[in-house]
């Protein structure tokens, strides 16, 4: 799965969960500051990603996710 395919899937999950305009979701957008996620949204987001991509994300790893790009690159590495 290439980066842009992963990005599109991640974007869809973010739009669905955070109800943000999809134009706001770019590789550079900061999940908390730009997209308004709080700590509970972050937990839910990780769960949805785990389910979508069939991976397990450790809490310590999730703490490093700041931007959408961080998440996409992490998933690309794991797949």
């Amino acid at each position: 799965m290439d980066e842009s395919t992963i990005f599109e899937k991640v974007k869809k999950i973010i739009v669905d969960q955070l109800r943000v305009d999809e134009n706001l979701v770019t590789m550079d957008s900061n999940i908390q500051e730009d997209l308004g996620a709080d700590s509970l949204d972050a937990v839910e987001l990780i769960m949805a990603l785990e389910e979508e991509f069939g991976i397990d994300v450790q809490d310590e790893e999730a703490e490093n996710f700041k931007t959408v790009g961080d998440v996409v690159r992490y998933i690309e590495k794991r797949l």
Binding site: Q17, L18, R19, L40
Partner: protein
């Protein structure tokens, strides 16, 4: 010295309409909000009818992202609060917000969320449970969310007493304002338990009407052919305000709240005391609290559920409190039209009561066709009545034998 407490704002989400005006027009007309359940397939359910709120779009009231993090009962509560605030014309200052209590409750809380998450637990395991499960489900979260959304920083909690929950909430809010602990109180209840578990649970208790072939006729309080209650959903929010503040800002004062009494049957988890003594105590305490005589009451908005036992025993209890005078008091049941909103019932019915006082019109008890010898009061059958109410008494009784009674008074300056 107790301060007087005015009711200055009303917000309703109900099976007969959203907003005070539509609600009031419909219940004056005697319109039923009961129909076939549309939210889930009812093939295996003995009861297939309820009072659903059909045209509710949370995004008309709440940002869509926030709405997703709220169970339906919290969405109802926030929407009804927004409507009540708009209705009151009150634009609170920061200082006023600090002095505003929020006492809003529910009988059951976020049942829909709980059921969905239960499914996830069994199908996908404990690691797939939403972080929002607990904060969406707990009963006090509607009240908490109201403060978070509107910035009210006074006392905030949720008394829980099943079908009397919002009567206790209104009573406590009244106390807070009358003693000066708060200058304003946002009070009421919210319920959204028309879910497979909610309906199945009350079916198992054999508490629900099974008149599935005539949904609009199923809720028939005090009628001889009543066969159980019909579940409703929605929310009712009232704005309570210290009277002088309301006068000074030129607020519309619907009525005053002047009495609150509560008791327990100490008898059975679901059945009322056959002697009605718990209900008698609750009514007597409210009348005493109001500093009036029983003969001052000239309207009763009944708990009136349409179950065999409640209506019979509530009638008995009213006669024990009022004696012969009971036959002269009109008694009506809002549940005949909206069904039983459980923890939100008393709040929506209190709004009906307050509007009855304000307009001098009592709404009817619909579907009243055949007299039950054990229910022999004036139930305002089927047609609204012009009636100048001085003091109105509102009863609410919950499982666990938990009773509450409120007394509202016409505002006469």
């Amino acid at each position: 010295m107790r301060r007087r407490v005015a009711i200055t704002g009303l917000g309703v989400i109900s099976p007969v309409g959203i907003g005070k005006d539509v609600f009031w027009e419909n219940i004056k007309k005697g319109k039923s909000g009961i129909s076939f359940i549309s939210k889930f397939p009812t093939d295996d359910f003995p009861t297939k009818i309820a009072g659903e709120v059909k045209d509710f779009n949370p995004e008309e009231f709440i940002d869509k992202r926030e709405a997703r993090r709220l169970d339906r009962f919290s969405q109802f509560a926030i929407a009804a609060t927004r409507l009540a605030l708009e209705d009151s014309g009150w634009n609170p200052t920061e200082e006023e917000k600090e002095n505003t209590a929020v006492i809003v409750t529910s009988g059951i809380g976020g049942f829909e969320t709980l059921e969905n998450q239960f499914r996830s637990l069994f199908e996908k395991g404990p690691n797939r449970i939403s972080p929002f499960l607990i904060p969406m489900v707990i009963i006090n979260i509607a009240s908490g969310n109201i403060s978070i959304f509107f910035g009210f920083k006074g006392p905030n909690y949720s008394p829980v007493s099943a079908c009397a929950s919002s009567a206790h909430a209104i009573g406590i809010g009244y106390r807070l304002v009358s003693t000066g602990e708060a200058d304003f109180a946002i009070v009421g209840g919210s319920e959204a338990s028309i879910t497979p578990m909610g309906i199945a649970g009350f079916c198992a208790l054999q508490a629900l009407s099974t008149r599935n072939d005539e949904p609009e006729k199923a809720s028939r309080p005090f009628d001889a052919k009543r066969d159980g209650f019909v579940m409703g959903e929605g929310a009712g929010i009232l704005i309570l305000e210290e009277l002088n503040h309301a006068i000074n800002r030129g607020a519309r004062i619907y009525a005053e709240i002047v009495g609150f009494g509560a008791s327990d049957d100490a008898y059975h988890i679901t059945a009322p005391d056959p002697e009605g003594n718990g209900a008698v105590l609750s009514m007597k305490r409210a009348i005493k609290d109001a500093g009036i005589n029983p003969e001052d009451i000239n309207y009763i908005n009944a708990h009136g559920t349409s179950t065999k036992l409640n209506d019979k025993i509530e009638t008995l209890a009213i006669k024990k409190v009022f004696g012969e005078y009971a036959y002269k008091i009109p008694v009506s049941s809002t549940k005949s039209m909206v069904g039983h909103l459980l923890g939100a019932a008393a709040s929506v019915e209190s709004i009906a009561t307050v509007l009855s006082i304000y307009e001098g019109i009592i709404h009817p008890t619909i579907n009243y066709e055949e007299k039950d010898p054990e229910c022999d009061l004036d139930y305002v059958p089927n047609v609204a009545r012009k009636w100048d109410i001085k003091y109105a008494l509102k009863n609410s009784f919950g499982f666990g034998g938990q009773n509450a009674t409120l007394i509202f008074k016409k505002y006469e300056g």
